[in-house]
C-alpha cells in the first residue's frame, strides 16, 4: 500500500507526523510559559540540549535506558527551575521584548558552556538507537521512532489538555494567561502558577529531547537550535496566547518540514526554511494574532 502522490510514501508521511509531534510538544512548552509570563523562551532549545547531553552521559556510563531518560528529565527540570529563579522572575515586570533578549542571553551562555565543556563535536547519545529499526506494517517499513514519537506526543497533549481543563492548577493557569492581574486579584497565586507552567514546560522539553535525540544522536552545542527557531515561528504562526493554537502551529511547521523535506529534491528543499519564514511573515501581516485563533482580539501595542 503506498500513497501514490508525488514521492509521498507511508514512511515519509509517518516521519513527518513524528516531526510534527515533536515540534508540537516544543510549541506547547513554549506557549505555556508565554501564557503566564509573556515570555518567549528562546533558550528552550538549550534546555533540550542539556537533556540530550544527559542522555549521552547515560549512554557513556552504560545506564539502562529508563535510568538515562530519568536523568535527562532531572537535568532539564533542574535547569528550567534554575532559569526561572535566576533570570525570568527578576524580569517578570519588564516588556516582552526585554525578556526575549534576556532569554537570548541565557541561550547564548548555555550554548557556549556546552562548547567549552564538550567541544565542537559534542557527544553521541546512541543507546536509544534501537528505535531507528523499522516495523513492517502492511508492507510499509515504518521506523519505530516515528510511531513512538507520534504516540508520545498525542498522549502528552491529551494529558496536558486534561490537566488544563480538569484540575485546579489548570484552571488557574488558563485564567492567568487570559488576564494575569485579574487572576491574582481573585486569589490565584502567581508563583504557583508560574512554577507550574515552568515545570510542565520542562517536562515537555525533556520528552521532546528524548524523541529528537533518536533522530539526531550527535549532540553538540547547537543541537535543537534550528528546531527551536522553527518552533518559535510555528508558535507565532498558530497564535502564542493559547495552548491549542500554539500546538497546532508547531505541528504544522514540523509536519510541513518533514513532508516537504521528504518529497522535494535536495536542491529545492535547501530553501525550505526560507519558504517557511516567508509564510510566517505573511501570516503575521494578515493575521497578527495567529492562524488558529478566533475573532479579532486587540493588536498588541508597541
Amino acid at each position: 500500500m503506498t500513497l501514490a502522490f508525488l514521492n509521498l510514501t507511508w514512511p515519509t508521511f509517518a516521519d513527518a507526523l513524528a516531526l510534527g509531534g515533536i515540534y508540537a510538544l516544543m510549541a506547547v512548552g513554549i506557549g505555556l510559559v508565554f501564557g503566564v509570563l509573556r515570555l518567549v523562551n528562546f533558550a528552550y532549545g538549550q534546555l533540550m540540549m542539556a537533556g540530550a547531553f544527559a542522555l549521552a552521559y547515560g549512554d557513556q556510563w552504560g545506564l539502562p535506558n529508563w535510568l538515562s531518560i530519568l536523568f535527562c528529565f532531572g537535568v532539564v527540570l533542574a535547569l528550567s527551575v534554575l532559569m526561572d529563579h535566576l533570570v525570568f522572575r527578576p524580569l517578570r515586570t519588564h516588556s516582552p521584548a526585554v525578556m526575549l533578549v534576556a532569554t537570548f542571553a541565557v541561550a547564548f551562555v548555555l550554548q557556549n558552556i556546552a562548547l567549552v565543556a564538550w567541544g565542537t563535536y559534542g557527544k553521541t547519545a546512541g543507546s536509544l538507537g534501537v528505535w531507528q529499526a523499522p516495523w513492517d506494517i502492511h508492507g510499509a517499513e515504518i521506523r519505530k521512532i516515528a510511531i513512538i514519537a507520534t504516540a508520545t506526543a498525542a498522549g502528552c497533549l491529551v494529558l496536558l489538555q486534561l490537566l488544563l481543563t480538569r484540575t485546579r492548577l489548570g484552571l488557574q493557569m488558563r485564567a492567568a494567561s487570559m488576564d494575569f492581574r485579574t487572576a491574582r486579584i481573585l486569589g490565584v497565586r502567581a508563583n504557583r502558577v508560574i512554577g507550574g507552567a515552568v515545570i510542565l514546560s520542562g517536562l515537555l522539553a525533556a520528552t521532546a529531547a528524548v524523541m529528537l535525540s533518536v533522530e539526531q544522536p550527535q549532540i553538540s552545542s547547537t543541537w535543537a537550535l534550528p528546531e527551536t527557531i522553527y518552533v518559535l515561528m510555528g508558535v507565532v504562526l498558530g497564535g502564542l496566547n493559547r495552548p491549542i493554537p500554539a500546538t497546532l502551529g508547531g505541528f504544522t511547521i514540523g509536519f510541513a518540514f518533514g513532508l516537504l523535506g521528504g518529497i522535494l529534491p535536495s536542491d529545492q528543499s535547501q530553501y525550505l526554511p526560507s519558504f517557511i519564514f516567508a509564510a510566517v511573515i505573511v501570516v503575521l501581516l494578515v493575521r497578527p494574532n495567529g492562524l488558529f485563533t478566533r475573532g479579532g482580539a486587540t493588536v498588541e501595542r508597541v
Binding site: 518567549v40 533570570v87 527578576p90 524580569l91 519588564h94 516582552p96 521584548a97 526585554v98 526575549l100 533578549v101 534576556a102 537570548f104 542571553a105 541565557v106 547564548f108 551562555v109 550554548q111 557556549n112 558552556i113 562548547l115 567549552v116 537550535l225 527557531i229 518559535l232 515561528m233 507565532v236 502564542l240 535547501q270 530553501y271 526554511p273 526560507s274 519564514f277 516567508a278 510566517v280 511573515i281 503575521l284 501581516l285 497578527p288 498588541e300 501595542r301 508597541v302
Partner: protein, 346 residues
C-alpha cells in the same frame, strides 16, 4: 535649547571612537586587531541603534542588512580573474563587474537601504513581539539564501581575495560617519517624531505623526548604515555567512542593550565596554598577563562572560549603563529668581 549646548551629545560618542582609534596605535599589532574589530562593531551597533533606539521596537533584522552589504561589497571588489576561480557559480553580471573600495562601500549602503526599505514597507505595520519575530524571519531567510545561492556570492565558503582595505583609519572614519548620521537624524524632525511615537503611541498619533512612516524612514536609514558597516567588515575579514547570523545578532544587540538602547552614547559606550571584555577574554585564550598573573582560559569563555554580563545588566539596570541618556555637561544652577522670570516670559 541652543545648538552649542547640544554639541557634547555628538562630541562625546565621536571622541570615544577617535580615542579608540588613537589608542590602537599604542598597542602591539596583535592587539590592534581587537581595536579594529571594536571600531567595526561601533558602526554596526550604531546602525542597530538608529532603528531600535529611536523607535523602541525590537528588530533582529539588522544583521541581514549587514550581510547583504558585505555580500555586495565583497563580490564586487574581488578581482575579475579571481572570481572565476573562487566563485564560479556567480551570475554573468557580477562575474564581469568590479569596482573600487569607496564605490563598493557606497553600493553596500545603497543595497542595504533598498533591502531594508522593501522589508520595512511590509513589516513596519507590526510592533512588539510580532515585529521581533517577523524581523527574525527576515534574518533567517537572508541566512538561508546567502548560504545556498552560489550566483550571488561564495555560498557557504568564506570570501577570498577581497582587497583588505579596512585598517584602523577606514574603520574609525566609518564609525564616525555612522555616529554623525545617527546624531543628525535624531536631531531632525523625523527623528523627534519617531521618538515621540516611542514615548507615547497614542499622543503622537493625536498630533498627526504617522508611526508607520517614521519607523519606515528609520528602518531604511538603519539598513543603509548596516549595509555600509557590512562593506567595511568584509574589507577587513574574509567573512563567511556563519559570521553574519545569530552570534553577531546576539553580540551587537547585547552591546546596544548594555550600553543603553535609548541613546547614541549608550550604543557607543556599550560597544566599547562589551567588546573590551570580549577582546580581553578572547586574547586570554592565548594567555594574557594581568599584573604578573598568567591568565589562560578555554575558548568560548568570552561568550559566556558576555552573556552573563548582559543578563545581569538587564536585571539590575534594564535601561543600560547610560540609562538611555546622552552626554551633557554639568550645568550651572540658575538662581530661583531667574527661573521664575523665565517661566513668566514663556
Amino acid at each position: 535649547m541652543n545648538q552649542a549646548r547640544r554639541l557634547p551629545e555628538l562630541l562625546a560618542p565621536a571622541l570615544l571612537v577617535l580615542a579608540t582609534a588613537l589608542l590602537s596605535f599604542e598597542v602591539s599589532s596583535y592587539l590592534q586587531a581587537y581595536f579594529l574589530d571594536t571600531l567595526i562593531k561601533v558602526s554596526i551597533v550604531v546602525a542597530l541603534y538608529v532603528f531600535i533606539g529611536n523607535s523602541g521596537v525590537l528588530s533582529f533584522g539588522t544583521i541581514s542588512f549587514v550581510a547583504v552589504g558585505a555580500w555586495t561589497a565583497g563580490v564586487l571588489t574581488v578581482p575579475e580573474s579571481q572570481k572565476k576561480i573562487t566563485m564560479p557559480g556567480l551570475s554573468h553580471f557580477l562575474l564581469t563587474h568590479e569596482v573600487g573600495n569607496v564605490a563598493s562601500l557606497a553600493l553596500a549602503a545603497g543595497v542595504g537601504a533598498a533591502f531594508a526599505l522593501a522589508v520595512g514597507l511590509a513589516l513596519m505595520r507590526l510592533s512588539g513581539l510580532a515585529a521581533g519575530i517577523a524581523t527574525f524571519a527576515v534574518l533567517g531567510i537572508t541566512y538561508n539564501v546567502l548560504t545556498y545561492e552560489q550566483s550571488i556570492g561564495p555560498g557557504l565558503n568564506a570570501f577570498s581575495s577581497v582587497p583588505q582595505t579596512t585598517g584602523i583609519w577606514q574603520a574609525a572614519v566609518a564609525g564616525l560617519i555612522c555616529v554623525v548620521v545617527a546624531y543628525v537624524y535624531q536631531r531632525t524632525r523625523f527623528g523627534r517624531m519617531l521618538r515621540a511615537t516611542r514615548e507615547d503611541h497614542a499622543a503622537a498619533a493625536a498630533v498627526g505623526i504617522s508611526t508607520y512612516r517614521s519607523r519606515l524612514l528609520a528602518f531604511t536609514l538603519s539598513g543603509a548604515l548596516a549595509g555600509f558597516a557590512g562593506g567595511i567588515y568584509v574589507h577587513e575579514l574574509p567573512l563567511q555567512v556563519g559570521n553574519l547570523y545569530l552570534d553577531l545578532t546576539f553580540i551587537t544587540l547585547a552591546m546596544l542593550v548594555v550600553g543603553g538602547s535609548g541613546s547614541l552614547l549608550g550604543a557607543v559606550v556599550g560597544t566599547l565596554a562589551l567588546n573590551g571584555i570580549y577582546s580581553f577574554f578572547s586574547a586570554a585564550t592565548n594567555t594574557v598577563d594581568v599584573f604578573g598573573w598568567h591568565l589562560k582560559v578555554p575558548s568560548g569563555t568570552a561568550e559566556i562572560v558576555l552573556g552573563v554580563v548582559m543578563a545581569v545588566v538587564l536585571i539590575v539596570r534594564p535601561s543600560g549603563i547610560t540609562g538611555g541618556r546622552e552626554f551633557s555637561l554639568p550645568r550651572r544652577r540658575r538662581p530661583v529668581a531667574d527661573l521664575e522670570k523665565a517661566r513668566v516670559t514663556t
